[in-house]
């Protein structure tokens, strides 16, 4: 077995049993990156030397009898997480030269638990996108391709496309990601891996480059649900440096995976039966529900009546917050500065931001600025906040009747790199099943459940109650086991 084929759990066991060292495991991944990253572009920065150093230190610790929960495990870190001493670009030209002197809390937690960092994963610029085509470091390619059309390069989804592609192609055992409207779950689904956006407040946002503060949440992507559970346990936890971080105990998520679903009530929201959803996705959804029924869960039709307003609400709230969050990239203190001799401050702002931000980021800053402007605030931002409250209430009422909700993860499988690029609204529709969990602050897990007719992975989504990731992991594991998803992407290490 090739060392990159381990699951994260498998690798931890192998390390613990002395079957493999962290240096060996890390070297295998660095070799895989060297071989495949030039094509996939999943990593913006590869920190090979540092990774080997960390691996050696981990092996040394292990000899001393010290083993953290992730001791010696090589991971990819989305390039939205600030990593002390390592370039952190957020996929943007404007941070193209930015090396933070501080570590994000989440990546710091992983280091605390013994993880090895292979490098910084590519992403849509400032996490804005659903295809990982807006990165200043170039697009990421999905390691999967269509069976009958292997030459068309597909997107890995976004914004955590680099993280998902790296994990799917075996260039990391797991990766950190972030999810503002679906940025963990959609790329996980497109790349045939698992990914969870935990409850808002579960992971600290400190040191993560902000997109939309009230929606952003960090989470893991990995090749199994249990691997996600193990990673989340390390990533999560109260952080006094983030005022929106939840002061709650972090349960043993991995233990919850094996709970089973017997007696659970699974909500099936009728509003998620969207017109135009491909029949294959409808069928997969039905299949998923059937699997759960077969394992003893009860299906309950529920109504989330404000679902249809979720996407427009999201595309008001998220750009509004982004327009303010991204004001700090002004060329004054760090990052890119574009100036002409004799130019004034306004000119500095205009040149720096025009050249530093890509088209999608500029579009969202403009939308956000517009919806917050005097005379439009009530009609857009305030209205959106009211609808957001109603969407939250929909879920509260539903969760009075059910333990978890199961829906498709995405309205389609991965698409071609040059598809949907000319129509932002079409692109935004990718998030139709995922944004509601962000608006309501709820945990949402994507789990690979099958393939479409082209042989591309499709995922299902499990949404849970706030701070009840345990049930989400249990339901996700049940689907995963029933699906027995063993298909592999064409581009992968060791293939």
């Amino acid at each position: 077995m090739h060392p990159t084929d381990f699951t994260l759990r498998g690798a931890i066991d192998a390390l613990n049993e002395g079957v493999i060292s962290s240096v060996e495991l890390t070297t295998a991944h660095l070799d895989a990156i060297a071989a495949l990253n030039p094509r996939l572009n999943a990593y913006i920065t590869v920190t090979g030397e540092q990774a080997l150093e960390q691996a050696r230190a981990s092996d040394a610790r292990r000899k001393e009898g010290v083993t953290g929960p992730l001791e010696g495990v090589p991971l990819a870190i989305k390039d939205l997480f600030c990593t002390a001493g390592t370039l952190t670009t957020a996929g943007s030209r404007i941070l193209g030269n930015f090396t933070p002197p501080y570590e994000s809390t989440v990546s710091g937690n992983l280091l605390r638990d013994g993880a090895v960092f292979l490098g910084k994963a590519n992403l849509d610029e400032f996490a804005m996108g659903s295809s990982n085509t807006t990165s200043a470091s170039g697009p990421v390619e999905n390691p999967w391709s269509r069976a009958n059309d292997p030459d068309t390069r597909l997107v890995p989804g976004g914004s955590s496309g680099g993280s998902a592609a790296a994990v799917a192609a075996r260039l990391a055992l797991g990766a950190t990601a972030t999810d503002t409207g679906g940025s963990i779950r959609q790329p996980a689904a497109f790349c045939g891996i698992a990914g969870i956006k935990p409850t808002y407040g579960r992971c600290s946002r400190f040191g993560i480059v902000a997109f939309a503060s009230s929606l952003d949440q960090a989470g893991p992507v990995a090749r199994t649900v249990e691997d996600c559970a193990i990673l989340l346990k390390s990533m999560a936890g109260f952080d006094p440096k983030d005022s929106t971080s939840a002061d709650m105990p972090v349960p043993d998520f991995a233990a919850a995976c094996a709970r089973g679903v017997k007696g659970l009530r699974i909500g099936v929201p009728k509003e998620y039966r969207l017109e135009g959803t491909p029949p294959e996705i409808e069928a997969l959804w039905e299949q998923g529900l059937a699997w759960l029924r077969a394992q003893g869960a009860e299906m309950v039709e529920i109504s989330l009546p404000h679902t249809q307003y979720a996407l427009p609400t999201y595309y008001i709230v998220a750009p509004a917050e982004a327009s303010s969050n991204l004001a700090r990239y002004d060329g004054v203190r760090f990052g890119l500065r574009v100036t002409e001799p004799g130019s004034d401050l306004r000119d500095l702002y205009e040149r720096t931001r025009a050249q530093g931000f890509g088209a999608e980021v500029r579009r969202r800053i403009l939308i956000g600025t517009y919806v917050l402007s005097a005379g439009y605030y009530d009609a857009y931002y305030l209205k959106a906040q009211k609808i957001r409250a109603l969407i939250k209430r929909d879920f509260d009422e539903a969760f009075a009747k059910v333990d978890a909700i199961v829906t498709p993860a995405t309205p389609s499988a991965a698409f071609g790199m040059d598809e949907k690029q000319d129509d932002p609204v079409k692109m935004y529709l990718n998030d139709v099943f995922t944004v509601t969990a962000n608006l309501a602050g709820l945990p949402g897990l994507a789990v690979p459940a099958g393939l479409d007719a082209q042989g591309l992975p499709l995922g299902l989504q499990v949404i849970g109650k706030a701070f009840d990731e345990e049930t989400v992991f249990a339901v996700g594991t049940a689907i995963e086991q029933a699906a027995n998803f063993t298909a592999l992407p064409r581009l992968r290490a060791g293939a």
């Binding site: 600030c82 933070p100 501080y102 040191g207 902000a210 983030d242 760090f334 917050l372």
Partner: protein
Amino acid sequence: MTYVIEGRTGPWEVVIGLEVHAQVTSQAKLFSGAATEFGAAPNSQVSFVDAGFPGMLPVINQECVAQAVRTGLGLKAEIHLWSRFDRKNYFYADLPQGYQISQFAHPIVGTGTVEITLADGSTKQIDITRLHLEQDAGKSLHDQHPSKSFIDLNRSGVALMEIVSEPDMRSPEEAGAYLTKLRQILRYLGTCDGNMDEGSMRADVNVSVRKPGEGFRTRCEVKNVNSIRFVMQAVEAEARRQIEVWEEGGAVEQETRLFDTGRGVTRSMRSKEDAHDYRYFPDPDLPPLVLEADWVESLKASLPELPDERRARYVAMGLSPYDAHVLTLERETAAFFEAVAKGRDAKTVANWVTGDFFAALNRTGLGVEESPVSAAALGELLDLIADKTINGKIAKDVLAIMFETGERPGAIVDARGLRQVVDTGAIEAAIARVMEANADKVAEYRSGKDKLFGFFVGQVMKAMQGKGNPALVNEVLKQKLA
């Protein structure tokens, strides 16, 4: 007595409201742990949060919240147990985040009131609209380099309280009295040092004018005035400018103006059309600020005595309202007075503190807290008068020596032989010498010119180098002259 400005078309009333920015006295900034000390080297008190670095998040400083609540209580205002921080978005080089975190829609403190005392002794209530917490910006320095601007972020993120008054003031004097009183309350509370020359307190002055009996006319805001004297000058200058505009048949435009302290005029900074659209919205990095009622109560219970209460207490101790007012203006003065008055006659102490002691302080240019004469030393001096060791006249001289040398009064009296003479023999001898030298005046006195008595007292005291006991001198002199 209403203050009016006479224009060509008749008298005009002035309407004034103040927005005061008071820097919260605290160890750390509003949302970061960086220090707040005045006068530190540029950019030496800046955290990554204050500099708006990627991924940095604000965390509220509980002490700043407590200071705002104390201030609200001191202004007899309602404390809002639920308040919220908004972002005020605009671009400037010394605003690192590209927004200021402020409480726009839901301030921590609501309506309150401040009582001001005017020169004629009358009082007036000035209502407070609100007090909210916000971050200060950094400082742009444009005069350090011919083509570059420098930025100092030491102030960036420092906690400010913006205290907004109703348009209740009607004269420069009232505006000055309000600011003085507000500063006094803040200093008593210890929530702001009130040092306007260090920028710890600055005022935006809203001014409009109107004919008596009218409703409000358009107002202009004079920004960032940094002394009480300048506020009073700015009010008058701006009122006169507006009267001129109206009387010329024009209309005052709502705008933001600056006060040119050198020329004593206001000039336009930006008009309403150029006003920023700040795109306020709730800061998603900060949950609403929710206070426990019990916590507010505990702050209330531990509040220091405020100037109004202290003044009332002094009047009850027998002081004149004027002395009570003067002694409570500064917390340090009141503390000094109380230290001297402990176990002594309050009224006598007040007379000495507001009289000779203040006069001597003024001559040295020192504040009470730097006085070379301690409260204990002044107390000893008053005890020497009370036990008749020295008389009041000599005491004044002793006080002057105390200011010069820092010596204790007892030592001065002993070393210089200033004990007053209570020996009637010595007094009689001095009187005899004076009467002998002034036989003509004695005759005049005895023929009915009573006014000469004072002359004899003076002469006798002079003959005794001022050390005669005044009561005894009077008594014996009366007998001898009879």
